[in-house]
Structures are given as C-alpha cells and as structure tokens.
Symmetry: C2
Subunit: 338 residues, 2 copies
DNA sequence: AAGGAATTTGCTCGCGGGTGCAAATTATTC
DNA sequence: GAATAATTTGCACCCGCGAGCAAATTCCTT
C-alpha cells in the first residue's frame, strides 16, 4: 500500500492520489467529478470523501488539453470609458461563472486590431470569444478568423453582419421607435442626434432607426453630430459645436444621444455652458440606463438593455443550443430629462 | 517526406507540423519561439517562415501544463458599482497583457466568500491572484490559502495585514494628510467622514488616517457615517441621515468621502434634497479621481491613485523581483467642490 | 589539421486528465 | 440457479509542449 503524503507538502494532489486513497482507479475519480457519468453511488461517495480529505480539485488546464474544451470564454473589449461596460462585464462574468464558464478578459487597445486579441484568445483555447460592445474593423476580423480558429465569435451589444459571427444585441430598431414616439408626444420639433465615432462596422443601428422613424412620422431629416469618442467630454464638445455655431432660432429642442454617457455630457454642456434648462429648453435622451442615469442630478430618460436575457442567449450559444443572431427587446425608461 | 496538410483543414497546427515543414525537430521549433533560447539564427528564420506559412501559434495551455507556469493572473473583484473599478480593470489588463500575462476575471459575488474564487483560479493554474479593490473576510482568506495553493496573492488598491498576502496600494495615510491640510486652509471646522460599509478586513486606511490628522491639528473628533454600499444611492441615504437628523447649527461644513462615487452621491443629496450649495455651504472631497469627477457638474476635489505605478509594482511581484508590500503616493487634485 | 571548447540540436519522459472500448461486476429474467 | 442484460470499472493511448541532458555540429586555437 502506497504512503499517502501529508496534504500540505508542496506537490499538488492529482486524481491518482485520490484514487489511491479511495481504492479505485484514476478514471473512477474523474467520473465522480463529472455530472451524469456512469458511476455507482458507493464509489462516488468514496471518491468524494477521499478528495475532500486531500483537498483535491481537478486541474482544469489538463482537462482542457485532453478534452478540447476549455470552458473558457474570452471577453474582448476596447472602450473602457463607458460605465455601461462595467455593467456588461459584471453580468457576463457572473452569469458565465455560475454556469461553469471562466472568463478571460482581453483588452484590445483602440489602435491595434482585433486579430491580436483573437489570436491570444485562441492560444488559450477558448471555446468562444465575445466582442463586448466593441467597435472593430470587419476586414481585420475576417482575416483574423481565417488564420486562427476561434470556435465561436459572438458580437455582444453591437451588431455585425459578418456571417462568421453571431450577434446578440438589444433591439435597437424597436428602441428608437419608442424614443421617437415619446418625443413626438412631447411635441419635439427639431431633434438632433448625437452619435459616437462613425465607424466602418460593428455599429449600432440606433441612428439610422431613429432617423427613419422620425422621417416617417414628420417628413423631417434628423441632423447628426459624431463625437470623437464615447465619453462625456466628447459630448460636451459636440454640444458646444451644435449650439455654438447655429443661431438660437434653429437650436434643437431635443438631443437624442447614442448612449447615457454622451447624454450626461450633453446635459452638463447645456446647463453649465449655455445655461439651458433640461427638459424645458432642450430634452435629452440616452441609452443603456447606467446607474448614474437615475441620479437626481440627471434623471435621464433612457432605454435599458435587456442584459440578463442577452446573457442567457449567450449561454444558449455556448451550449450549442442556438446558432443564429438575436435581437432582444429592452425597456424604455422615462424620467424627467424629456 | 511527409505531406503537409492544407492549412485550413480542421486539425490544428502543432509544433510538429512546423518542424516537419522547416526540416528541424519539434524542440527547435519551441526554441524559436522562446526569448533568449539557444538557437542559431538560421534555424530560427527557417522555423519562423514555416510557422507563418502554416499559421502556427504555440498552444499556451499545453505550455502551461508542461511548464508549471501559466502566465495567467486571476483578477478577483466583487464591487462592480464603482466606476473606478473600470479604470483599475482597464489598466491592469492592459499592463499585464502587454507584458505577456493573460487575465482571468473572476467575479466574486458579495454573498459568497473568497474561497470559491480562489479555488477556481487555482484550478486554472494561475500564477497569481489579484484581489482588486475588494472587501473580503480575512479568516476565509486564511482557510482558502491553506487548502488550495495560489502561488501569489496580491491585494490591490486595498490593504490587508495578512502575512500570506502582498499589498499594493495607494498611500492613504499621505493622501488623507493632504486632504486634511487642504480643508484646514479652507477654514473647515466640522468635517464629517462618509465611509463605505464597515468591513472586518481588507479595508482602506483612509478613515483612520483622516481622523488622526484632524485630531492632531484641531483636537476635534471626526464623526463617521457608514454607507450600506459603495454606490451613490447609499451616499444619498447617508447624507439624508446626517443632515436630516441634526439641527442646522451643527451641520457639517465638509463631507470627506471615502471615494468619488460616494462624494458624487453626497453632492447630489446636498443640492437636490437640501438645496445647499457646494462648496459654499458644504465642501465635498472624494477619492480616486474617476472621469466623472472632472465633469462640470461636479468638479470634485479628489485624490488620484497612482495606478500606473501600482501596475508596475505588480509586474515586479509577478516577475519575483519584489516580495514586499508597497504603498505608492498618489496625487491630490484640487477642484471647486472644496 | 587535430584537439578541445562552445554552441546547437534531438530526445526521453512527464504534466494531469479525457475518450472510447473491453473487462468485470451487478441486476434481472425465466 | 443459469443465462442474459445492464451497469460499473479499468486501461491504452493521446492532447501539445517543456525540462534537462546527451549527441551532434560548429568554432577556435595551436
């Protein structure tokens, strides 16, 4: 009979050690740790007792290598200015984790392309890569996908028509129709759309949707200003430009912002640079419903993305129960900024 | 001569394939990809050419298994309400990534303890675990460390006296002295400290430091209110309590907040619930210098953590060039809220 | 050109556990 | 109780690469 070493000696405990202690084979130990494996009640108990005694936990690295399944998902993102990212991150990690998935966070700096991030992910054998509300270039993506195999590539909270890609996103079209209808009931005449940087791909569909509905309803075109980034300073600049360079008579009476952080910057600019009142002089709407949107300082009318549902859809994709893009309706949140 | 398979056939390319194409052994391929390995210029070129042709990239999983070094760091956190977390996350991932470290993000829900997170991390063989600005229980930590070996455990942007642990943190003591001095020059008489939840361990040293300096300078004690969490609603409640339950004559003339998100909530409460002016009626200071602190709406006086330096210290620890705790001075940022 | 040092290359063995099948055990039927 | 079916267990082989040493090659020196 082999000596079982004291449990705190440097060497780590493997399935073999547990097997020896439990008096079974290594493979029985593996089965004990596997959901619905073919194993008798008795041996499982024996194994579990031995495992607990030794403080054994399966090595996920070795398991991934052997099984070609890592239970790892790469979360790729590049825009860390938006507090909404934090919400997405939190929900994604929590949901995935509670379903047995680990998350590898890959920060893709704006300058470099997606390939490096995807390559790094694939080198760790992730089962899927999730581009999280991230702008990226479709062409780069194409080549990256060609060269390096990432089993599944999901675009989360954003939209890409790339056929090698799955989109999970809020239903922007529906959302903008609601915002549009809302502004109409508030007798808005001249809305102005404030969009993030104008990128080639992986965009949101908010601007187009809003413009289309507004044109359908009123026949008027919606002017658009693109900011230099998704942060409130960029929004302040945009508002300075819009209101600074046009005569007061043609000032917009509503700012429809692509997301909350732009909306908050816009509100600050309106109030502190132009002394305007929101919503009396200008109404403002956002998108995402970040925590700050509910603060008494902003009370922002916005649209909440259905993150929980979106996470569930992601799980379905990971479990291969789904393989098509999906657009989930969110919820319009009316507050006093409009 | 072996047939080289077309590069896009399902099977993934291993070092063996590259070796065959380059006409060298598998180990030479490995050396070509290793910094300062003993290999001739000629073979390295041959290997690299072959690798590029096949689209080969080393499998990091297999490498970790074989070498007992994963180049993976677990980032463990649990408080996703604070936008400052996003800054920390961004910096950490980016710094680590650019130095060859992958980051495993582990979300530790407030309810459960650190053990589960640490266990999960160790199962993936992380080289180190970083608790990121996270409250946790020291006792749990102790047992978790005993049972499961995580090679290095770093407490980042927080402090723990646990000897199995390394702390990398902003120098809170210095910081609070500066804030304290600043308030004295502004003739503040009755500061009130707003702290986050009162936890057992892994706390910040801000409250004690401020109270101590203030007492040294004025002989007065600083009253403290603990919020129920690090979000601005909790701060609003705290302010409601402080100002709602005491007569106007003894209202504080400054709110020293443990971080920016509390400070912002406090300012909102002062302005919108009590109609007070900041800083004329009450001065407010924060900590962290989150992006919003610079917005025209808040213009918050705060203290910026030296995140860049802290990340560099972390790298030193990962590379085993350092094995002691370190407290880095940050920078006091004066704005108009005080 | 020979001898030795320095450099480069190849190889055995192992990291820890999964797959899929064959052997062994247990349960079921008549 | 024997024969068969169902369940449980054991095993050879593999996943892709690294440590460390031995063999082979190259470079220097005299």
């Amino acid at each position: 009979m082999t000596e079982i070493p004291d449990q705190d000696i440097e060497a780590s405990i493997t399935a073999d050690d547990v097997a020896a202690l439990a008096g079974v084979s290594r493979w029985t130990v593996a089965r004990a740790f596997k959901k619905d494996a073919s194993i008798s009640r008795k041996s499982r108990d024996k194994v579990m007792a031995a495992a607990e005694k030794l403080g054994y936990a399966p090595d996920l690295l070795a398991a991934s290598l052997a099984s070609d399944r890592s239970n790892l998902v790469a979360l790729i993102t590049n825009d860390f200015n938006n507090p909404h990212k934090l919400v997405l991150l939190e929900r994604l990690t929590r949901t995935l984790w509670s379903h047995g998935w680990g998350t590898l966070l890959v920060h893709m700096s704006d300058s470099d392309d997606a390939s490096a991030a995807l390559l790094a992910a694939s080198q760790r054998r992730v089962d899927a890569a999730v581009m999280m509300g991230t702008r990226f270039d479709d062409k780069v993506l194409e080549t990256a996908l060609g060269a390096r195999r990432v089993k599944k590539l999901v675009i989360f909270a954003r939209y890409s028509p790339n056929p090698n890609t799955l989109t999970i996103s809020c239903d922007d079209v529906l959302a903008m129709r609601e915002i549009s209808d809302h502004l109409l009931t508030k007798s808005i005449r001249r809305p102005h759309y404030i969009a993030g940087p104008n990128t080639q791909s992986a965009k949101l569909q908010r601007k187009e949707s809003f413009a289309r509905y507004w044109a359908e309803a009123t026949g008027a075109e919606v002017p658009v200003t693109y900011t230099s980034g998704y942060d409130f300073n960029a929004a302040i600049e945009a508002v300075m430009q819009i209101f600074g360079e046009t005569p007061r008579e043609v000032w917009p009476d509503a700012l429809v912002c692509e997301n909350d952080i732009l909306a908050i910057g816009a509100m600050d600019a309106l109030r502190y640079r132009f002394g305007l009142d929101v919503p009396r002089d200008v109404a403002v709407t956002g998108f995402d419903d970040i925590p700050l949107a509910a603060s008494p300082a902003y009370n922002l009318t916005t649209y909440r993305q259905p993150i929980t549902e979106m996470c569930l859809k992601l799980l379905e994709i990971l479990d291969s129960k789904r393989s098509d893009s999906v657009f989930v309706p969110g919820r319009f949140v009316t507050r006093t900024s409009s």
